[in-house]
Symmetry: C2
Subunit: 305 residues, 2 copies
Amino acid sequence: MDEVTVHSPATVSNVVCGFDCLGFALAEPFDLITVRRIEQPTIRIINRDDYGLPTEPSKNVAGVALLAMLQVMEASFGFEVEITKGIKPGSGIGSSSASSCGAVAAANHLLGNPFTKAELVGFAMEGEKLASGAKHADNVAPCIFGGFTLVRSLDPLDIVSLTYPQLFATVIHPQIEIKTSEARAILPTSVPLADAVRNWSNLGAFVAGLVNRDYELISKSMVDVIVEPARSPLITNFDEVKAAGIGAGALGGGISGSGPSIFMISSSLETAQAVRRAMKEVYSSTGIEFNLYVSGIEREGVRIV
Amino acid sequence: MDEVTVHSPATVSNVVCGFDCLGFALAEPFDLITVRRIEQPTIRIINRDDYGLPTEPSKNVAGVALLAMLQVMEASFGFEVEITKGIKPGSGIGSSSASSCGAVAAANHLLGNPFTKAELVGFAMEGEKLASGAKHADNVAPCIFGGFTLVRSLDPLDIVSLTYPQLFATVIHPQIEIKTSEARAILPTSVPLADAVRNWSNLGAFVAGLVNRDYELISKSMVDVIVEPARSPLITNFDEVKAAGIGAGALGGGISGSGPSIFMISSSLETAQAVRRAMKEVYSSTGIEFNLYVSGIEREGVRIV
């Protein structure tokens, strides 16, 4: 095998009540990433898009993830990586994760799959550390595993795949910039115990709702009294967009990752389209440019094209 | 129907990672409660045990719960309640909940079941308020519903019944006194966000473990970095008992409710018996008297005898 090309999905992390642990993969948008083995013990990055991302391996999330993999292997060879980003950087739907996960998953396949999915998550987390300053797995886990994932523990890394009913996501990406590091800095360092209890009660119920395919419970549990109140003021018309989405029939929704994207989930494609129209109407009046996506849940995660 | 007698189970609340929301019902020990309708619009309490609990309705948890029910009904009649407690007051396995839930469930049956289970939880919570100074439902919910329950929200009251695999509990009740109000006062009023995240990640995983009947995940998720470190110093030899229980094969365990009882759960009766022996051995050296229970999970909750 000379090269492997993968389809690497966007992901929604936090999912309202699961800050820093819950996430799911989107069928769209996605990146296309091709990895080739090269003789030289280095990483060569070729960007096939107009985002002007760094090509120096140590400054590129895919490069950092691949370097971590090569280091573990004590490899004497390297990789050339060609990245076509369909996921806009800084959108809050796991753009950096898609790059780093896609790169390591493609490289793993090229080498005959010496690494487990959990190990790939570990390498990709090095990319997250570069992107946000913190090692976290709530985007990389669903990107690698697909579907809904819960990161039970970071050390040791323990990822739980959750079953779920038919769901469709509607995502609006307003073209405003929120740096992940800034969105982290705005969070409280400590929270009232009573608020924490409300949050874990809702997360427990949300997980039960997913696994039991209980749409009503999923809907009721999508409540966040800790992170959303702190971050939502950073996003123009957040409350209006959320209310419009729920008014159009969405089960619930909120900030995707650290924003600025806002996601909604619905039980049918028809509802997700109605939610799209409702969200679009709110944002059309703001003068801010935006992208809109309606997408199923990506069951598989990164996959070979 | 002249009278109704019910079997009202002990319950374990918090369950390590589910502080203030999670609980399950024990097959043993239990209270026996008989309720009779009387002409006078009052509550008459007869205690058939040696615990010397108050008989004045407004100072007795069963009395308070029944008064709440009568008030909603604008009733012109009353109840006589005969209570035989099998659950020692102050044990931390839901003694007050068993009294109040048993009383309202028996009265409800006597009246032809005008109230839903959720409404009975609401009445019984008035008893919890009397007992601990705070309205909470993590013991009354499993006492009424049986099995494992998650209180998603107190206002509005929303209780989620969780499915679960075969499990057996081992409970040790050291004869030391910990007042619920004191055990509450020792808790931090706020917690680091990172600790809260660890806790909700574990609770989410625990719920997934229960519903998916995944013993390994149940075991790994029984971690509490918030409440157990604060409360466990109140319980003599807590760490040793817990370590002995896990060493004997328990999936996990911790403080039952606000203590002093310590519970362990195991996947088989045989293991639960081995856990019993291990816990007994640790406590035998302390000079403190204790009771030990090995019990299945009570599926039904309060039931008519």
